[in-house]
């Protein structure tokens, strides 16, 4: 994390030496939930707050929101004390559980929260319509929240967090209770919001969710920061190289392995046939059902991001370039990774390229997941097993993008 105060970047949240101690009735310290935490959240980024249960994530968030008072340290939000009511006009908050009024329906709920922000009636109505469509609740707009499933209530929670088009959005376990469709939509929404100039604080212990979207993150344990940095900094594996190739037959793989042994003296750790992610399969099945117009009483497919979000926001300098960079990253996240080629791990990529050209192997093209699955079923596993049998007996790791290699 960059040292505080360097450069002229305006911060959304600044915390320095933040401590929160809970006391009992006799004012004896009972628990130190947050212990000397220092971090800052910059504009237009998605900041991750990670940690296991009881690590201080939600306590930190509640201090940022003014629901709890800090015991020690400094904390400011938009340069002001968190208890300042005017700060709240720029915030949106989704609690870890959705605490809505059971006797109100979604339309009334959003109208209520819109009133609290002082939004005029026509604006409230327009935003309510857009948000309900965005979260897929327009069909349940007149049912009371008390009848909702957890996931539907969670979607409503997301909608109410956005009613005021906040500059700074705080999401505590946003995908809790959501199905993979909802999870994917939340992630897409977060990326979209960042593109529109929002700042997001994301707290979760579902690491896959955070990894996909966060720019920077801190990892808490026992109220202290154990690690911090960008996802790239924290997660880069410097000891291995991953290659994505179109499907190779056993003979070619052998040649590749021999070449690598010859050139650099190391062997391929593992050859895997990637498989489709369960999330992608799930989404395909749901899309097919929707195409067949099968009825459901649950949440509908969400619509596009509400148009009012990010209206009129000034773009930061360099935003276009940042957008292009992010778009490139998002295309990797959003689209199914090409699954047609086996993954070869090894330190030397040139040798492999030579082998490919020598064999006339076609360059990798994106292939459908179904084709990938079918291909994986037809490969001669005896050859692969023969290649793998001498090194180790580990199960192939069907990771998110096939990069399931584990360091030795």
């Amino acid at each position: 994390m960059n040292p505080r105060g360097q450069g002229s970047v305006r911060t959304v949240v600044e915390a320095e030496g933040l401590v929160k101690t809970f006391s009992d009735f006799w004012l004896r310290a009972k628990a130190r939930a947050v212990d000397g935490v220092t971090f800052e959240i910059r504009p237009n980024e998605i900041f991750g707050l990670l940690g296991p249960n009881g690590s201080g994530k939600s306590t930190t968030i509640k201090m940022i929101l003014g629901l709890l008072r800090k015991s020690k340290g400094r904390l400011s939000v938009f340069g002001r004390d968190p208890s300042d009511v005017s700060v709240k006009a720029r915030l949106g908050y989704l609690p870890e559980e959705t605490y809505m009024y059971r006797f109100l329906n979604p339309r009334e709920t959003l109208d209520y929260f819109g009133k609290l922000f002082g939004l005029p009636r026509t604006t409230r109505r327009r935003r309510t319509d857009e948000l309900l469509e965005m979260v897929g609740l327009e069909g349940a707009a007149h049912r009371v929240v008390g009848e909702f499933s957890k996931g539907m209530a969670r979607r409503l929670g997301i909608a109410q967090a956005l009613i005021n088009d906040p500059e700074f959005l705080i999401l505590d376990e946003p995908t809790s209770g959501l199905d993979p469709i909802g999870t994917r939509q939340v992630k897409d929404l977060l990326v979209d919001l960042r593109r529109k100039g929002k700042t997001v604080l994301l707290s979760s212990h579902l690491l896959a969710d955070v990894e996909d979207v966060c720019d920077r993150m801190v990892i808490l344990y026992g109220g202290k920061i154990r690690a911090s940095g960008t996802a790239e900094e924290l997660l880069r594996d410097t000891k291995h190289t991953t290659l994505h190739l179109p499907r190779l037959d056993a003979a070619t793989i052998s040649k590749v392995d021999a070449a690598i042994r010859r050139e650099v003296g190391v062997a391929i750790d593992r050859v895997e046939t990637p498989r489709q992610r369960l999330e992608d399969l799930f989404l395909q099945i749901v899309d097919a059902a929707r195409a067949e117009q099968v009825e459901t009483s649950g949440a509908m497919r969400g619509g596009p991001t509400a148009a009012f979000l990010g209206e009129g926001d000034e773009r930061q300098p360099g935003a276009l370039i940042a957008d292009l960079e992010r778009a490139a990253t998002e295309s990797k996240l959003a689209a199914p990774v090409a699954r047609s080629a086996p993954v070869v791990r090894g330190p030397h990529m040139d040798t492999i390229a030579e082998l490919q050209r020598a064999d006339g192997t076609r360059t990798a093209k994106p292939a459908s997941a179904a084709a990938t699955k079918a291909d994986s079923e037809t490969v001669d596993k005896s050859v692969i097993e023969g290649l793998l049998g001498g090194s180790d007996n580990r199960e192939p790791d069907g990771g998110a993008d096939g990069s399931g290699a584990r360091p030795k």
Partner: protein, 678 residues
């Protein structure tokens, strides 16, 4: 039944569109017209017929034996444009309708009687002769239907009508008019409450923290089961209440009983609901964490509490308005019952359905020097008491204080005691308006005499001003009233009343009563009319509203810092202490431990008299400011009481409750640590 629920839900969504509402409006107008227009047309024609018959009857003269009279007597018919209208029933009574001059006295009534035979059987007789009334009813029903449609209440209106209309119709068909009125009243009240709620919600619809919170609280109050049970129960019970009042009692007692029970029930239910809802809405939102979603918006803690209070204030206003209107209408209907006697009817209008101011005699105060001398003499003459003071068994200051109170009481009592055969005069002031209005005031008196046996009557004479004496007999302990001639009031608005303890005969001879008589401080008063019952009732409702505002503030403030059960306990304790403060005052005064009790008992006595006495003194206005007792008694509740109730209790006390509770709430950490979470 799922299909029904689903269909109702779809209808509820569909009827929110403007186009749908226009369609429903047209449909409602068409249906109402289809039902009412035939009745109105028949009524119009019937009224026309009555008018034509009346014009013929005016010409009929049995002495002149003109054709109109002959037709009536011989055939019981009248000729109208070549057709005969009438029947054998008319012939039976025709002869008796003519007076000595040969004409008909009551032409309109006789015309109606003759025309009634021609009236359509399906038309209710009470309305068939009144086209204006029929038209008014039709417009009223259509108006209500259109109002319901545009407020989104079409479904509830249909539901209420489907439930109450068949029952009311059945009661009407079986001649059970009281039940018919009751069930019709239930339907009207429920609908009126829904309409009033919708209007209140629209009033709270502007954007803002306080109005937003108030709006949601009103929705909560009208959707939670406890609220619906309380409000629904009240609106159902009120129209049924007259059924539980014996019609054998004098009419004025029936009306007084209904006023007492009706207003008492309204306030009790409203107070209970307000207290419960005030505590629940805040405490449960903190417990269930909905408050997190609210206080993370630009809403200060004060605005949050203020919004809750405003919502409760509006809810209380709705309940008092609708239920109060119900009580008022029921009083009017009850008053229309036949009175047992002329005195009963007169008492109803002059003593119950009226607002009267009370004037009490001007009593002298004891001279301070006289008082001091009397106390000193009492101590000097009482050797035992002097000895106790000297021995230290009693404190001189306490003895002097007790003797002062005793002497003042004796002095006051002496002014309210008249020896047998003696007389005493009392002066009342403030009766100038009564003199100007020419409305006779009333003297109300409750005397004690001898053993206070209610089986005895004793004579007493009253002289009002310079007028001749009025001799009456009274029963001890019971309240009696006597009319005062207006001319007895002097030009400056004072009235001198001389009471003679005995029968004052002509010539001034007095036959003395067997015992002396005395009366309490409120045992002799003059009541004079200063307003009507309706205005007094409105003021009573405003006083109740002021008290409810305080209860709401109390509950909301307490729940901001305490859990629900503790908040209810605290708020209810304060409410009960305030309501019972007159009784508590007497109890605290009379609470005393024996002089030789242990020291901790003495401390306890001091605590009770100090702390409890102080709390009771602070809360005393809650009970003393205008009450339903005054309303029942026909006493005026002045605007000053309304200002005290709303201004002092409703606003100032509420502000104090908010200051204390709001400050503590602002310091409270809402999202407390919960162990394994986050």
């Amino acid at each position: 039944m799922n299909w029904l629920g689903s269909a109702l839900e779809r209808f509820a969504v569909w009827q929110e569109r403007v186009g749908s509402r226009v369609l429903l409006t047209v449909l409602a107008v068409v249906l109402v017209s289809a039902a009412v227009v035939p009745l109105w047309w028949s009524s119009l024609q019937h009224a026309q017929l009555v008018s034509e018959i009346a014009s013929v009857l005016r010409e009929a003269n049995i002495k002149e034996r003109n054709p109109q009279a002959i037709n009536l007597v011989d055939r019981g018919t009248v000729q109208l444009n070549g057709r005969e209208v009438g029947s054998a029933r008319v012939q039976l009574v025709a002869q008796e309708m003519f007076n000595e001059a040969g004409t008909i006295d009551d032409v309109p009534a006789f015309a109606s009687f003759i025309a009634a035979i021609q009236a359509p059987r399906w038309a209710p007789p009470q309305v068939v002769e009144q086209p204006l009334l029929v038209g008014g009813i039709g417009i009223g029903i259509a108006g209500v239907a259109v109002l319901a449609i545009w407020l989104g209440l079409a479904l509830p209106l249909m539901g209420i009508t489907l439930v109450t209309a068949p029952i009311a119709t059945a009661c009407f068909a079986f001649g059970q008019m009281q039940l018919f009125v009751a069930f019709t009243g239930i339907g009207i009240l429920l609908f009126l409450f829904l309409v009033a709620t919708q209007l209140a919600l629209r009033m709270l619809s502007p954007a803002g923290a306080i109005t937003g919170v108030a709006h949601t609280l009103l929705l909560e109050a009208t959707r939670q089961r406890i609220s619906l049970a309380c409000i629904g129960g009240l609106l159902v019970l009120l129209p049924l209440l007259p059924l539980f009042i014996s019609s054998r009692d004098p009419l004025r007692y029936q009306v007084q009983t209904f006023i007492a029970r009706g207003t008492g029930l309204v306030f009790l239910v409203a107070a209970f609901l307000t207290l419960l809802l005030a505590c629940a809405t805040v405490a449960f939102e903190i417990r269930d964490r909905q408050i997190w979603s609210v206080l993370t918006k630009p809403v200060s803690r004060f605005q949050y509490l203020a919004g809750k209070w405003l919502g409760l204030a509006v809810l209380d206003g709705l309940i008092l308005t609708v239920a109060g209107a119900a009580v008022l209408v029921q009083v009017s209907l009850l008053s229309a019952r036949p009175a047992g006697s002329m005195e009963d009817a007169a008492a109803l209008t002059s003593q119950v359905l009226v607002a009267r101011a009370t004037e009490r005699p001007v009593y002298k105060s004891i001279d301070p020097i006289e008082l001091r001398d009397a106390v000193n003499r009492a101590i000097e003459n009482d050797t035992v008491l002097r000895g106790e003071i000297e021995a230290g068994a009693k404190s001189e200051a306490d003895v002097v204080r007790q003797l002062r109170v005793q002497k003042i009481t004796e002095f006051s009592s002496a002014q309210r005691t008249i020896a047998a055969g003696a007389s005493r005069s009392y002066t009342f002031s403030g009766l100038l308006e009564a003199r100007k209005a020419g409305i006779a005031p009333m003297l109300r008196y409750t005397f004690h005499s001898g053993p206070d046996s209610t089986h005895e009557v004793y004579p007493v004479s009253f002289l009002f001003g310079d007028l001749p004496p009025e001799l009456v007999e009274y029963v001890p302990v019971q309240r009696n009233v006597l009319g005062i001639p207006v001319e007895a009031i002097a030009e400056d608005g004072t009235l001198r009343v001389t009471i003679v303890n005995g029968a004052m005969m002509q010539g001034g001879r007095i036959i003395q009563a067997p015992w002396s008589l005395n009366f309490d401080a409120d045992g002799l008063e003059v009541l004079h009319r200063v307003g009507g019952f309706e205005g007094n009732f409105l003021r009573a409702m405003l006083v109740d509203w002021g008290k409810l505002l305080f209860i709401a503030a109390l509950g909301v403030s307490a729940a901001g810092i305490l859990s629900f059960p503790v908040a209810v306990l605290v708020a209810m304790t304060i409410f009960i202490v305030g309501s019972m403060s007159p009784f508590l005052e007497i109890a605290v005064e009379q609470f005393a431990v024996p002089i030789d009790a242990p020291w901790f008992m003495q401390v306890f006595e001091a605590f009770i008299q100090g702390f409890v006495g102080s709390v009771q003194w602070v809360l005393a206005p809650f009970a003393s400011v205008g009450s339903s007792t005054d309303l029942v008694d026909g006493r005026v509740i002045p605007w000053g009481s309304v200002v005290r109730a709303v201004g002092l209790i409703g606003l100032l006390w509420s502000a104090l409750a908010f200051a204390i509770g709001g400050w503590a709430f602002s310091r409270k950490e809402i999202a407390i640590y919960s162990g394994g979470e986050g």
